[in-house]
Symmetry: C2
Subunit: 212 residues, 2 copies
């Protein structure tokens, strides 16, 4: 998952670790707290070893007279390679069971602007199916096993059930919107395309609520 997210972000522009983490937090803030460095740096290393990303020296100053001693670690800027872009395209289009869990879905969704419409639809529907199953499980417990559970546990289930119902409705909307064709041909072509132009994808939600 982290791999996919990093590749996706670096596709927008080269970055160093710290920056990457901030962007990751901004983009995925709705899904997960904040990515740990204990995951980030090892993953960067792995991606570099695989050839999906490369280091790029960043010093804007010519850096002629570096003191040599104390060796000035300096920040390491990473950029995605052509193979990395291929890898990203492959990862973003391929769906497995993990695509539909909370984190997996969140990451995929966050990069829907770079995903083709058929895949978007497939993911949305898979997620809906999964949430519906969770919902049924909660209904079962709330129905059949209610007397075995204490009031707090029950309340927790109710809250969870509510969240499920709400998410299913949200997904229905997105699916309908997606099916209605309102979806441009997305910049998956990105390999040589316009740099950082943000060719805006479809408007997913129709301002479902007043926000003053």
């Amino acid at each position: 998952m982290l791999e996919l997210a990093i590749l996706g972000l670096l596709q927008e522009s080269p970055m160093h670790g710290y920056e990457l983490r901030k962007e990751l937090t901004a983009k995925l803030g709705a899904i997960r707290a904040a990515i740990s460095y204990g995951s980030l740096y090892p993953t960067l290393r792995r991606l570099q070893a695989a050839g999906w990303i490369t280091e790029a020296a960043d010093p804007p100053a010519t850096a002629e007279e570096v003191p040599a001693l104390t060796s000035r670690r300096g920040r390491v800027v990473y950029e995605i390679t052509a193979e990395g872009k291929e890898r990203f395209a492959q990862l973003i289009a391929q769906t497995g069971p993990e695509t539909y869990d909370d984190t997996g879905f969140g990451v995929h969704f966050a990069f829907f602007a770079r995903t083709d419409q058929a895949t978007r639809l497939r993911i949305l529907e898979g997620r809906r199916r999964k949430i519906e199953e969770r919902r049924e499980g909660l209904r079962d417990v709330l129905g059949r096993a209610a007397e075995r559970l204490d009031a707090y546990t029950l309340e927790l289930q109710r809250h969870g059930l509510d969240a499920c119902e709400r998410e299913v409705r949200w997904l229905e909307e997105l699916i309908a919107n997606e099916r209605s064709g309102r979806a441009p041909a997305v910049p998956t072509t990105g390999t040589a395309g316009g740099r950082r132009e943000d060719n805006s994808p479809p408007p997913p939600g129709e301002s479902r609520k007043e926000r003053p």
Copy 2:
């Protein structure tokens, strides 16, 4: 977290691994998918080594003529020890940062019936604070960085923000309810008390919705 959950469940009655997993799923279904055996069994081993739980032979049949060969593995029933109950009481009352993340809060909440009121209040308020922070983060992104993000990412944030607002409201209700004193003295006394009597704790939610 798993440790706390296992100790909590075994406090209700002795169980073997498989059963434990099912009960765990029923009790925490609103929080997390299903606990993996790859976590469960090692944790059971750890708890046993620490002396919090013990194995209890379960065969109801006298098992006199066991074939000896092929050695009939048989299910392993675990039960909590006195030290285990102490450990549980300690874990359930102590709060750290991890108490307020999604999983930690869920597990603690699921055992609120065995938690004293002051602790319940503390946890509820800590969780609210945490969710409020997440909410502010999302509002910031939605406000300040909106044009840097594509429509799908934005929609994800909106959905996340909505969930935050909803959870804060839920927590407010629970906190108010808790403060209103409607909270019996909870069976944390359990060490020698009535066996599996489920002395019902307070009604947390006031049937916030019709459920036909």
